[in-house]
């Protein structure tokens, strides 16, 4: 018999990253209900995106990227599902292939070679230049999280001064709808 006490060790402890799509009533407090659930029960939020998707029905779609063992992910989904304003919870990671995208705005400040290098990299990554002054650029890049991370990394030495990211919006591939 093992010598451990609480908590249980009988579950698969491998931590995985899951993307959840949650359809909710867009009513006051719904976001803090969800955020409070995560903080109150000690779960992680890696990314959280929310916006109204069906204005006339007051329905919002929340995309949450979280991580945990299989047991924790199940608990998260069950706890989300029992919130009164939550209509549906779909685990896109379990559904198979899904598309995940986020948008980032990146400000580069500098002069001379750094500036030119930043512009070349932006072109290579397919980023749009949406603002330019003689000492700065603001680039916009939409893509998978990994692409954005890579872009941020290479832009670092070229005077990257500020980053703003939207968090992930996700959807299942194919004809399946939520």
């Amino acid at each position: 018999m093992s010598v451990s006490h609480y908590p249980a060790v009988s579950f698969d402890q491998t931590v995985r990253r899951h993307t959840l799509s949650v359809i909710v009533d867009n009513e006051p407090g719904v976001l803090s209900r969800i955020a409070g659930l995560f903080s109150g029960r000690g779960y992680n939020i890696e990314s959280l995106t929310v916006s109204e998707t069906e204005a006339e029905k007051h329905i919002s779609r929340i995309t949450i990227v979280t991580s945990g063992s299989e047991k924790i992910i199940d608990q998260i989904k069950n706890h989300l599902d029992r919130l009164v304003p939550v209509h549906r919870v779909v685990d896109l990671t379990l559904q198979g292939e899904s598309i995940e995208r986020e948008l980032a705005l990146l400000k580069v400040v500098g002069k001379g070679d750094h500036r030119m290098e930043a512009l070349r990299l932006a072109t290579a990554f397919g980023a749009r230049t949406i603002d330019a002054t003689v000492t700065s650029f603001v680039f916009e890049l939409t893509g998978a999280t990994d692409d954005i991370e890579r872009f941020i990394k290479v832009l670092g030495p070229c005077g990257l001064a500020e980053v703003s990211r939207t968090g992930i919006a996700a959807m299942a591939r194919g004809s399946e709808v939520m």
């Binding site: 006490h5 609480y6 249980a8 009988s10 407090g29 409070g36 608990q75 069950n78 029992r82 009164v84």
Partner: protein, 586 residues
Amino acid sequence: MSEMMTGAEMVVRALRDQNVEHLFGYPGGAVLPIYDALFQQDFVKHILVRQEGGAVHSAEGYARSSGKVGVVLVTSGPGATNAVTGLTDALMDSIPLVCITGQVPTHLIGSDAFQECDTVGITRSCTKHNYLVKRIEDLPRILHEAFYVASNGRPGPVVIDIPKDIQFARGVYSRPKDNQHKTYRPTVKGDLSKIKAAVELMSKAKRPVFYTGGGVINAGPHASALLRELVHLTGFPCTSTLMGLGAFPAADKQWLGMLGMHGTYEANLAMHGCDVMINIGARFDDRITGRIDAFSPGSRKIHVDIDPSSINKNVKVEIPIVGDCAHVLEDMVRLWRELSPQVDKPALKSWWGQINEWRGRNSLGFQNSETIIKPQHAVQRLYELTKGHDTYVTTEVGQHQMWAAQYFHFEEPNRWMTSGGLGTMGYGLPAAIGVQLAHPKALVIDIAGEASILMNIQEMSTALQYRLPVKIFILNNEYMGMVRQWQELLHGGRYSSSYSEALPDFVKLAEAYGSHGIRCSDPAKLDDAIMEMIETPRAVIFDCVVAKEENCFPMIPSGKAHNEMILNDFTGDTKTVIDAKGRELV
């Protein structure tokens, strides 16, 4: 029928339409319009408590003993914050409540106005759901929806925060055809294929045990009847959590007593040694499982729960069934009858033989005394002497609560009201007041400790005002007994702040509140004193002076497994039964 009326009138009308006869509350500036509307009618009776916390516990006692939704009305700010403990208590124990709170007028929200607090923010995590009403048009729907949400699915407390200007605003009231929520639809029917698998597993069991909980009580008296039928059909042993006592009759020969930290030897060892565990409406709480990696190691488990998030939360189960206990039990009974299985009779016989051997250990036995009242003896006598009565029992929290659970036996559901999940001292007296209002003719007893009772003693005034003959039976050992016991077990007997210093004279206190006071410290006079309490037609405070340093056993020490219990005849050093790791647990 649509009618024009003010928001305050809508509140009262909706309560009436929901057939609410009793409302527990305390007035204040932000709910005055609702109190004015209450004043002008006489269907909904308002019960004035002495502190808002008392209102919520009273509503809990009312709800738990009657199966109805308990309703509370408090003012903004401190009214709402005083209600928070009770709301959390109701959330943990799945009690259906609707709590209406006043709020400062909408244009002042966020301005730090007098008696303003962020009620929906504060109560978000201690309610099943909550609402801030910002438009009069939404009020009728929300009022009715709140009752639906509170009582459907896993029951729980719902808060409706109503700003004062909304209470004065006029709008159209109509009772919705159904008061359902537009999307919230909890699953009540269990998955039939899973129920079939469960029944098959049960039919092949060699060492089965039913482990039942508060979910059976919440599913209504019908669920208790079905549980009895199923347990009798199968011939399996049955145990229950603290919250589930009464769902299965304590006098039945298949009853093992309560399980868990202070449960019986036979119940806990049956849980440890079983091969099939049938959990109906319980949630594998840490008071039940003890050391979780050693919990019932050889069993396959069936778990019936209306809340999917209870499944696999603490213990992984083989057959989870999401649904209302009454529905699932009905299917189980039907399928068992259809299958009329050949159970393994020799195996069951030897299992019962084993259980009877454990029973022979007499784990609730204790050393009685002729000179001093033992608390266990006091509860035993209370139980024996109240047997012929229509009795309801509430408790506070601590040793007396566990002794009440061990030595007071329940044959029917809804007779036992206790704070299980949150463990709220001060629950018992206001809960007893709620029970007495729901059952005016019944004998309602709050089994209390001298420390707990002082937490809501002001509710004696409420009992006096409404002439509620509640009996408060205090096991007075001049210690916060459970704290003292843990200090003995965990902290070398250093009784830091657990001595009940400067106690009031409870007999005089009873008299001060216009009730009757009794003190008894002599075992020979105990029966007569209890009879005097029972026969007194008004409220009584009974100061039962008991042995001071009695420990509540049996006990599964923190961090230990079911088969590592210590019993009343434990002779070793109590200071060494809990190891360093177990000390960190609660």
